[in-house]
């Protein structure tokens, strides 16, 4: 075992055939990822300089004009500000709230700690599509749970998903319902990783309650929080796509669209492939920045999202 440990990660010498065998093993995954991720990324970059309606045999080169149009478009500006609004909603619901819940969990006894963790994680295994339909029923103005309660409280009826003032929040709540448990799980796992001795030592020094959290525990949880923050930004851009696509298609009057949904809408609603590609490239760059910053700050490198 010692021998194994000492050499782990290092390749063995299998002679001249080693490299070839290595390439053969990685070939299927590398080829598939190349064809279905990097090829389309480059193709999208190319298309972003063209105007094309997806069916016409001719693609017209237009230089930077798609990008220029994007900068001037009120629709895109709206999509950007909505993306920021989603980020604020989700920041509150799936970053701040689970962090508080993580604090709360440390005061529970083992049985409840396990029970809460399982129950709060449960919605995470449900697809965003199903979550969308379930919430559509809860939000439904006729006979829906929320409307009925609202009515019983004597309030003026609100059609949550059709009212431009409430639709974005209503979509954010759907995503938050699903995503809460994942972030909560990461935060509790991160906190469990703080050594018991550190906690003990701090308490011996008189750190209790808020002081303990403020000066010892939350800072030690910092890298996890940064990771969860970047996951939350990804959700604000990417996860909301499914409920938007299913329930509002960006409306009413553009109140729920976001930058990622605009990629779909420009290409598959209005057949402006070039313009859609220009937006896609900008979204890619945005994700690149978020990921790079997150990795630099916390040295964590992995996330896995349902798509």
């Amino acid at each position: 075992m010692t021998e194994g440990r000492a050499r782990r990660g290092r390749a063995l010498s299998l002679g001249a055939g080693e490299a070839i065998r290595g390439y053969l093993f990685i070939l299927p995954a590398v080829v598939l990822l190349g064809i279905f991720v990097y090829r389309p990324l480059l193709e999208t970059l190319r298309l972003s300089f063209y105007e094309w309606n997806m069916v016409s045999p001719t693609q017209t080169y237009v230089g930077w004009s798609n990008y220029r149009e994007m900068l001037e478009s009120p629709g895109v500006r709206r999509a950007i500000s909505n993306t920021a609004a989603y980020a604020l909603w989700l920041g509150a619901l799936v970053l701040v709230l689970p962090t508080i819940a993580t604090v709360a969990l440390t005061y529970m006894r083992t049985f409840w700690r396990r029970a809460f963790r399982v129950v709060l994680f449960l919605p995470n295994i449900i697809s965003l599509a199903t979550a969308g339909v379930i919430w559509l029923w809860i939000y439904n103005p006729i006979g829906g749970f929320l409307a009925t309660v609202w009515d019983a409280l004597g309030k003026f009826p609100v059609n949550w998903l059709s009212n431009p003032n409430t639709a974005l929040g209503a979509i954010a709540v759907i995503v938050a319902w699903k995503a809460f448990g994942y972030n909560f799980l990461l935060l509790t796992a991160g906190l469990a990783g703080v050594p018991q001795e550190v906690v003990e030592a701090a308490r011996v020094d008189g750190a209790e309650g808020w002081v303990l959290w403020r000066h010892i525990l939350l800072p030690m949880l910092g890298p996890t929080i940064v990771f969860v923050l970047s996951a939350t930004l990804v959700m604000a851009a990417e996860y909301v796509f499914t409920p938007i696509h299913m329930l509002t298609e960006g409306g009413p009057i553009n109140s729920t669209t976001n930058v990622v949904f605009e990629i779909w809408r420009q290409a598959f609603r209005w057949f402006r492939v070039g313009y859609s590609s220009a937006i896609a490239i900008c979204v890619f760059l945005l994700f690149l920045v978020i990921t790079t910053v997150q990795m630099l700050v916390s040295e964590r490198v992995v996330s896995y999202e349902e798509r």
Partner: protein, 287 residues
């Protein structure tokens, strides 16, 4: 070698009974908010139609009925849709496991030029949103004449960067001496991988497989583009189709359909709850 590690239990702090009670109530409210939509879905699916539109908030159905499920079979081709979802999810999972295992073994155990750059190129694909590349992939799949086939839904997802990363972590820990011993005995490379290495990492493969399956079962963004024929749709896509059809306001029917979408993932979760949560937790861990 080892079992998939359970999520660490963590330590606890003491506090006064009052503040403990307050924290408990806070968590209880969150737990009820997490469970309520699912409960509401189940009970709506079981309520007789007369109880659904009466502004009736009763949390339990009076005289539960499977009527909505029966109508679901009749109105929509539920068996076909469930079959489509199962085929797409199972085959996607199988492909992802195989390609991940092979690549992870190659990256962990062989030395070849460009190994590190290729590995990071694989890893990088995790950070590219599917919506950025979906238009171009749609055009490719359409050019190949694959629209509305299982292949269209499966092929672009047949490799998983996360799977490569996750299994590589495990394979790096495998003792070199065992591999060398097997080779001296004349075992071929694939035999070593499948007969010697694979059995020792089976718990990780299972955990990863469950994670892949749940994600494939749930996926929406890609199949909604390529599976537009009602006979080929997977369940999440069919849900959208139901919603926009005349049945869109037949909530008993809609919730019965949603229940069918939730059940497989829910059963998997209840059976392997610890394993699933520890795998999910590891998706956020340091590399």
């Amino acid at each position: 070698m080892r079992n998939a590690e359970p999520v660490q239990e963590g330590w606890s702090l003491d506090t006064g009974p009052l503040s403990r009670a307050a924290w408990f109530v806070f968590l209880l409210v969150l737990a009820l908010l997490a469970l309520f939509p699912l409960w509401w879905m189940f009970t709506t699916a079981l309520k007789p139609a007369s109880q659904i539109f009466a502004g009736d908030l009763s949390l339990f159905p009076r005289g539960a009925t499977l009527d909505h499920f029966r109508r679901l079979m009749g109105t929509f081709n539920l068996a076909r849709i469930m079959g489509n979802t199962l085929v797409v999810a199972a085959v996607t999972t199988g492909f992802q496991l195989i390609t991940s295992l092979l690549a992870a073994y190659g990256f962990a155990r062989y030395r070849f030029p460009l190994r590190e750059p290729l590995f990071y190129l694989c890893l990088g694909t995790m950070f590219i949103p599917i919506q950025v590349i979906m238009v171009s992939n749609y055009l490719l799949v359409s050019d190949w004449g694959l629209l509305n086939t299982y292949a269209a839904a499966i092929l672009p997802q047949a490799a998983s960067a996360f799977g490569v990363f996750f299994l590589r972590q495990q394979l790096r820990l495998f003792p070199q001496s065992l591999l060398d011993a097997a080779r001296i005995d004349g075992a071929g490379e694939l035999t070593v991988l499948f007969r010697i290495v694979l059995p020792t990492i089976r718990p990780f493969i299972t955990a990863l497989g469950i994670l892949f399956f749940i994600n494939a079962w749930n996926q929406y963004v890609w199949p909604v583009l390529v599976l537009t024929d009602p006979d080929m749709m997977t369940l999440p896509i069919a849900l959208r189709e139901f919603m926009h059809s005349e049945a869109g306001h037949d909530w008993g029917l809609m919730m019965a359909a949603s229940t069918m979408g939730v059940l497989p993932a829910l059963i998997a979760f209840l059976l392997a709850q610890r394993m699933i949560m520890s795998t999910f937790a590891s998706t956020g861990l340091k590399g």
